[in-house]
């Protein structure tokens, strides 16, 4: 499913989107499939499926640890695309990974593999717009959205350039730092949303872990909230994972309906 179609569907229902991140293969391929099912059942509208990299510089301890577990359990790009193709939920799947894995597989092939396995968006946290000519072209050719990040320190001119290349949604980092749960999101979100003018849906992530924070972000004007580490922490705990994932997703989704 294309990301734009999902946002159109939500707009009809007057809802905002819940985007959930999990690391593929953490702790196993089978578990990830069940977790994705639980996320969707709970109300997640878009799934970010992380392809683990050995050196994830943009990630905090929670997602680093998830990447390490997934790699140790044998996750690799071949298995990743196989798994993505076998997921039949009615939501867009977005691949989040680091650039070397894309470069090594072949940029064109990577975009094609995404399209063929039902992945309709790619996020690459170590690929700023300036370095993205090749991947951008390959994504366009294969009908895959390339999603860029914008941060509180991104300059006006770079916001403009970056948004020009972004489709699907724009990933807004609400505060400085790596991924991970944080306590305080409201003000910085508001500030940055005011600086971004685009028709592309605005999704806010980094540091959102509960319903109240999600509600604040939506109230500040976001079209979507992105939640990762809070789900990954449940997965890491290993107890009642699917139930708790579904419950958290459904709570977070409530704030997208109000």
């Amino acid at each position: 499913m294309r990301i734009a179609d999902k946002f159109a569907e939500l707009e009809n229902k007057r809802e905002k989107a819940l985007i959930a991140y999990v690391c593929a293969g953490d702790p196993s391929i089978e578990a990830t499939k069940e977790i994705v099912h639980a996320l969707v059942k709970g109300g997640a509208d878009i799934i970010e499926l992380g392809l683990p990299f050995s050196d994830p510089v943009a990630d905090g301890p929670t997602i680093q640890a998830a990447s390490t577990r997934a790699l140790a359990a044998g996750m690799n790009p071949d298995l990743y695309f196989e798994m993505a193709a076998s997921i039949k939920e009615n939501v867009p799947l977005v691949c989040m990974t680091y650039y070397n894995l894309i470069y090594k597989r072949g940029i064109e092939k990577y975009a094609k593999d995404c399209a063929e396995s039902g992945i309709t968006g790619i996020i690459v946290p170590d690929l700023p717009a300036e370095e993205s000519d090749e991947l951008h072209a390959a994504c366009r050719k294969n009908g895959v959205d390339l999603i860029f990040l914008i941060t509180p320190v991104t300059t006006e001119s770079r916001i403009k350039n970056t948004i020009g290349r972004t489709s699907g949604f724009v990933y807004i980092v609400s505060r400085l730092g790596v991924t991970g749960e944080r306590v305080d999101v409201a003000d910085s979100t508001k500030n940055i949303l005011e600086r971004i003018h685009t028709d592309v849906p605005k999704a806010v992530g980094f540091g959102i872990s509960n319903k109240q924070q999600a509600a604040e972000v939506i109230k500040a004007g976001a079209d979507a909230v992105i939640v990762g580490s809070a789900f990954v922490n449940i997965i890491a705990s290993g107890s009642d994972v699917n139930e708790r994932i579904e419950k958290l997703a459904s709570k977070l989704k409530e704030s997208c309906r109000e």
Binding site: D55, V57, P128, L176
Partner: protein
Amino acid sequence: MKRSMYGKYGGQFVPEVLMPALAELEEAYERYKNDPEFLAELDYYMKEFAGRETPLYFAKNLSKKYGIKIYLKREDLVHGGAHKLNNTLGQALLAKYMGKERIIAETGAGQHGTATAMASANMGFRSEVYMGAKDVIRQHMNVYRMELMGCKVHAVKSGSMTLKDAINEALRDWVTNVENTHYLIGSVVGPHPYPMIVRDFQSVIGKEVKEQIMEKEGRYPDSIVACAGGGSNAMGIFYPFIEDKEVRLFPVEAGGKGLKTTEKEALHSASLCVGEDGILQGAHTRILQDKYGQILESSSVSAGLDYSGVGPELAHFADIGRVKPCNVSDDEALEAFYELSLLEGIIPALESSHAIAYVMKMAKTGELGDLVVINLSGRGDKDLEAVFRLKEEGEKKEATEGKEACL
């Protein structure tokens, strides 16, 4: 070619949040690199604090044994015991001009961390250094040195717990504290403009060699040999000679226990010799990776060469044939460590021992010509414990094997 590229290599493959900081750094560097006040201050630090210029020493005993003229560029005599301070003084001064309050750095063996602590203490910065937990144990004296100078050392427990992971962690810190913090990278690696800035600050080595060798020999050397992990001492001595095509340039990588690779790790650190194209820690360069692009852990007897990537510009010079990458094994480097100590009364760092080992190996082949300069990038005091441990292990092994032979 884009401004940030070195041939096809280089670039800025970093999280979006760092892009403004890289732009700010590049702008500041362009502004100050020719500023008379900045240069005069840097010159003062280099001379009075670091102890430059360093001698270009004619190694008469080594030369006699190997039948060619061998000079050692004595970077081991720089304050702190290695070339690292050339770069940390330059960058710390730049950070001062930029109005930063805090300096962070990564370190492998602890040499760059120590040099960062020195520059920071002297210029009044708060400093924090990330160091792999394994290296913290292996190089505890350097940790103590850093702490004495007021630097906070973080033991990094993620990944392989070595240099690569320390860089990841320093990048994460920078992502979080980018507004008041300068990330002082220790080698010619990482995103542009770092490879350029570190190269320029280290080029003082090659510039001095040019004048010194003309004075002593009336000509440029036939070849220059330097060890290469990330490649900062190699770029520092090579770069001023890049246009002098008659001077052959040899970066010597750590061959470790052989140029082989298992599923998770390489038994060496020879990214120029046998690495592949890839993107690591901000730069497109030559790296050690598996078939999917996951980064392999590297290996070397010398912590300072133990890195899965290499500077992008050095990779470019290798591609176009301007430098000739080569490597020596752990054992060959150890042999050179002993040999230089015995013959010249100079204990070299295990890193620099790789360069010496290559000259010992190749002197007779004619490949190096008659006049060679080796960059003696650091002194070996920091390695004594490691070398003694290896010696003991070797003796134990010999004893066991001897026993078995008797049976």
